[in-house]
């Protein structure tokens, strides 16, 4: 089980507990409790989304840095190597913006790039105090992050 699937299991355990409370509230016509647990589900979605995004971001940093390092080491023609020489090899470096790292690994004009950009925007919306009612589909996130972690390689 990889990290996204492991997190999804933990996420589901919490979500299922909240849903159980919601179902009881609905049966009891307890609107206040229903709203409370609906809100908790939203926040749980956001919390696990941010956690998953950090793992995905780490993958992008790791693979983009590996590509930069390999290009600097293996391209002998300076004319072709020079754009690589100015890029940072340290995966922790913030001199290379996240989406620029992504564009080293996937065509910037592709729908895959656009999807990752949308996930990045969502991360910023949630992480920087945007509108907290923005919905997320964690199963979709897990599928997408799993797929991109397999296909976006140096």
């Amino acid at each position: 089980m990889n990290i996204f699937e492991e997190l999804k299991t933990l996420y589901s355990e919490i979500d299922n507990y909240y849903v159980k409370q919601l179902v009881e509230a609905r049966r009891d016509a307890d609107e206040e409790k229903e709203n409370e647990f609906s809100r908790r589900r939203e926040l749980n979605d956001h919390a696990y989304y941010l956690f998953m995004f950090t793992r995905f971001e780490d993958h992008i940093r790791e693979q983009s840095s590996k590509l930069i390092k390999e290009s600097q080491d293996n391209i002998t023609d300076w004319g072709k190597r020079r754009p690589w020489d100015i890029l940072p090899t340290d995966k922790q470096s913030d001199k290379l913006f996240f989406l620029n790292r992504v564009s080293l690994l996937v065509d910037k004009g592709s729908h895959h790039y656009q999807t990752i950009k949308n996930y990045y925007d969502l991360r910023n919306t949630i992480g920087h105090g945007g509108i907290f009612s923005t919905p997320v589909s964690i199963p979709t996130v897990v599928n997408d992050f799993n797929q991109y972690s397999r296909t976006l390689q140096a």
């Binding site: 996420y11 609905r26 996930y119 945007g130 923005t134």
Partner: protein
């Protein structure tokens, strides 16, 4: 931020399309349950829709419908729209049952006919097609 008149119209059409897809989904479920006399359905207009795109583009909020399914007088499932603008999907509707939520996700493109797939945690794996057999299995209809 999308702020042109055409884009606002487009967004309003997306909301209208979302309402229609929810209505059609409920109609399908009603049709499946109609022959089963012990099951009853009750709709409530109690789901507020006011997503980020709507707020940013001055599109008025909407009230969507949820659907309760009763078996012998007790609620056994509640179906609620969760959101339209969700990354990687064309909308999410949840079926809430006592064991947890089944998340129905529409994987179609905008304005295409819906393709509802079901995710049920914590199981890992590919999503399942949402059809009558899946739904009856969820409700325990033999």
């Amino acid at each position: 931020m999308i702020d042109t008149t055409i884009s606002k119209k487009h967004l309003e059409e997306r909301v209208n399309d979302w309402e229609k897809r929810i209505f059609d989904l409920y109609s399908l479920i009603e049709k499946w349950l109609a022959p089963l006399s012990l099951y009853k359905i009750k709709k409530r207009n109690d789901v507020r829709m006011y997503e980020e795109f709507m707020q940013r583009n001055n599109i008025p909020e909407r009230t969507l419908t949820s659907l309760d399914i009763y078996f012998k007088g007790s609620i056994v499932a509640t179906i609620k729209p969760i959101g339209l603008w969700i990354v990687g999907t064309n909308g999410r509707v949840d079926i809430l049952v006592s064991q947890g939520a089944v998340m129905l996700v529409d994987i179609s493109e905008s304005f295409d006919s819906p393709i509802w797939v079901a995710h049920k945690g914590p199981k890992i794996g590919k999503e399942k097609e949402f059809n009558k057999e899946y739904f009856f299995n969820l409700l325990g209809v033999s």
